[in-house]
Symmetry: C2
């Protein structure tokens, strides 16, 4: 099907379907009804049918969804049927955590190098991934094109590094720096702003308390 016909809201939900379907597969489940999936995911069955109908004809009356087929189809939509080469800028705790994350490689995201400015980190490895000097970024990318660059560095450094990445032709940036990046239209950015997530939690906590009349 044409990807562009799927609404942004559905796309936002697809990774969660993908995760649940993956769990079902690992439990040996071959098919599931929208009702069972609804119970598991705490989403209404009607929402599930509406979302998954975008993929056409998977759900059959009295049979349910073929778990593996749906998992693979959603994986294709999400671009997970190819290997993405990824670099991580910043080999501090966050960059190291991301490089170590076992799920990423399983899903086809292959971290090929980390970059840092800290002489103590340069030359070390994370698993078998090398930590290279940040000033060799352009040389590295000329020889090893990547699909995704991850920014796990402070915001003061992030803007300049993002410009260098874009100049080298990198088309996707996964940004953990606490700033918004300005990039050309053909470059996609996904932000993970941890402070903002924590503030939403704080808001929900304070609202909860207020409703309960406690403090």
């Amino acid at each position: 099907m044409e990807k562009s016909t799927i609404s942004r809201a559905v796309i936002q939900r697809l990774p969660r379907y993908y995760r649940y379907l993956g769990e079902l597969m690992s439990e040996g489940c071959q098919r599931i009804s929208s009702g069972e999936l609804s119970n598991r995911m705490h989403v209404t069955a009607s929402q599930i049918r509406q979302d998954l109908n975008h993929f056409g004809g998977f759900g059959q009356q009295g049979y349910g969804y073929n778990v593996e087929y749906l998992y693979n189809e959603i994986g294709k939509i999400l671009g997970l049927d190819t290997t993405h080469r990824v670099i991580i800028i910043g080999a501090g705790n966050l960059g190291t955590a991301l490089a170590n994350y076992p799920n990423f490689e399983k899903r086809g995201f292959l971290v090929t190098a980390l970059f840092d400015v800290n002489p103590e980190r340069i030359g070390q490895t994370v698993g078998d991934i090398p930590i290279l000097p940040l000033d060799t970024l352009e040389d590295y990318l000329a020889e090893h094109p990547v699909h995704i660059a991850t920014l796990a560095i402070p915001k003061t450094a992030a803007v300049g590094v993002a410009e260098r990445l874009v100049a080298c032709g990198v088309k996707a940036i996964w940004n953990f720096a606490h700033t918004d990046l300005t990039v050309p239209d053909d470059v996609v950015v996904e932000n993970v702003h941890l402070s903002e997530s924590l503030m939403r939690l704080s808001y929900n906590l304070s609202t909860q308390k207020k409703e309960k009349g406690t403090d």
Copy 2:
């Protein structure tokens, strides 16, 4: 004003306003028009006026917004005018990165302890924050109530630890484990599912390529 009258969509946007207003303050800016803020934030001026009007009468014709006042008011709405005591379960790279994050303490999120099961980590510190054995969690919480518990552990361990936290009266969980937690109604959970964020980036990248006709 009554917090509950603000829509969820506006709440989602408040942390970003808060960040921009904080940056303006640190640049010495005392007031700003919706037009200038619009240019900076890449949001329409009409959206900004609509969002910030929820806070009543800050924007004055020909004057603009009082940056510090608005920053403080949004901070109060987000619950940032009090100190939140936070613990982190998991002192691996991710937990350590979170404990080291300088912005959290600045915003009133005070990490008081990390917990781990790894004998090599227990007894160490991150900055001056102690790493304690996970089996002392209940004793610790009885003596040191916290507002927020952060789960920086694998999903297999997360469900059990979340149950223990809830049993100890913790009302807010910041969940980095790649699973959804089932908690009572009076407990709030904010998920940071990094794999799902990476999948959205992958989707946007593959859609971008398709639109450009390249691969």
